[in-house]
Amino acid sequence: MKLGWSADGEAIESPFQVAITGVGVVSSVGIGKEAFWSGILNSSYSGSRLIDDFDPAQYMNVKEARRADRYNQLGLAASILAMNDAGNPEINPAKAGVWMGTGVGGLTTLESQILICHGRGPDRVSPFLVPMMMANSNAATISMKFGFTNTCQTTATACAAGTQAIGNAAREISSGRATIMLAGGAEVATTPTAIAGFDNMTAASPTATSRPFDAERNGFVMAEGAAVVVLEELSHAVARGAHIYAIVAGYGSNADAHHITAPAPHGAGAIACMERALEDAGLTPSQIAHVNAHGTSTPLNDKGEAEAIDKLFGATRPPVTSIKGALGHTLGAAGAIETVAACLTFENGIIPPTANTVNIDPEMNIDVVIGQPRKLGDGAIISNSFGFGGHNGSLVFTRP
């Protein structure tokens, strides 16, 4: 990653590289990296993308669970899994921070307390409504869990939040401000009111099938989930002999400045975002071996993203996958879960297929991995997230 640019426009390289040394994931296809990975290798999924087998008691006591919205419970669990996976590194707490992403925060709590307020009166509203619903509650809970006293922040950029949280956290390390950052995203926006809102804006699939880049795609499938990665300054990770999944080599973010929900025409914002991430990584498009796409299964997103990938990568045609075929859309957690997928793609040397996709939209000139997983070639991985509001984020990962 770059520290920045000089007044003459010269890139200033950072002396600090950012390694990913731990991954934690709580998803509808599995909890923990092994279950998650085998889950996203399946080529078809349907039905609910809720997490039926999540037991908060494995990660927190009864009182902590009662005081945490479900989104926060999932995020905290993911952070514990990630720290365990990283070997629970010893760290000066002042050099360790947290940066989480979420679309809305504790929506389940808010919706239930609104019903209580209107049904039973304002004096029955929980005194924990505010700390449970606020979008920064998950980052705060994680910082308290591990005692990390460096920066602790939350990015709320809809479906780009997970990716942007990890990018922002990586910059804390590449700028020398932190040595370790727990970063990721958590989302449980599957309340009746939120589902109705997405349904009524015709963003959600009426057939509850997520099939990114398919000619028959008709919207996304709402899902819940969380993922956290341990970002660690490379020399610190090497010195303690940590397992390194990947290097966060570049991060780009920008805005479409176009429309509150529709992407900019012809993928213009997505192209510029990926270019920024590649520039930050010092790579050219031909050095990308795989695109982990945003690929929501909505008509507009997938059309624009495919056009952007085609224009930017041209003849290189890196294989593209969207794990939202399997997972559905976890909104502010999606980019974080996809970062874990990118780590495991390096680890296993294969690219998961885009589940449910059978007939790639003939208007798209991209190489979508469908049916069977595909061997990963040499090169870097780029992972995209695009949020309502026109927020774009791209992360570039290289092999350790």
Binding site: N61, V62, K63, E64, R66, D123, R124, S126, P127, F128, P131
Partner: protein, 80 residues
């Protein structure tokens, strides 16, 4: 209802809201020191007690009520 039954009802509220073991809910237990309850926990406990006993407790009545015994006496006084 006798005192023991009332206290069991009180204890059930405390266990539910504060997430503590029932045997820790004894009259001499201090909310902050023994039951790890902060001011927000107390607000929620009072709401639970109001619902359970069909009573109304004003915030001003909680002044100095920092043990289980004192809180139980406050509730009991409302039922008389």
């Amino acid at each position: 209802m006798d005192d023991a039954a009332l206290f069991d009802q009180f204890k059930a509220c405390a266990v539910k809201v504060l997430g503590v073991d029932g045997d820790k809910v004894v009259p001499e237990a201090n909310f902050a020191d023994d039951l790890d309850a902060d001011s927000l926990d107390i607000v929620e406990l009072v709401m639970e007690l109001e619902d359970s006993f069909s009573i109304k407790v004003d915030e001003s009545e909680l002044e100095g009520v920092d043990t289980v015994g004192a809180a139980f006496n406050l509730v009991k006084g409302k039922l008389a």
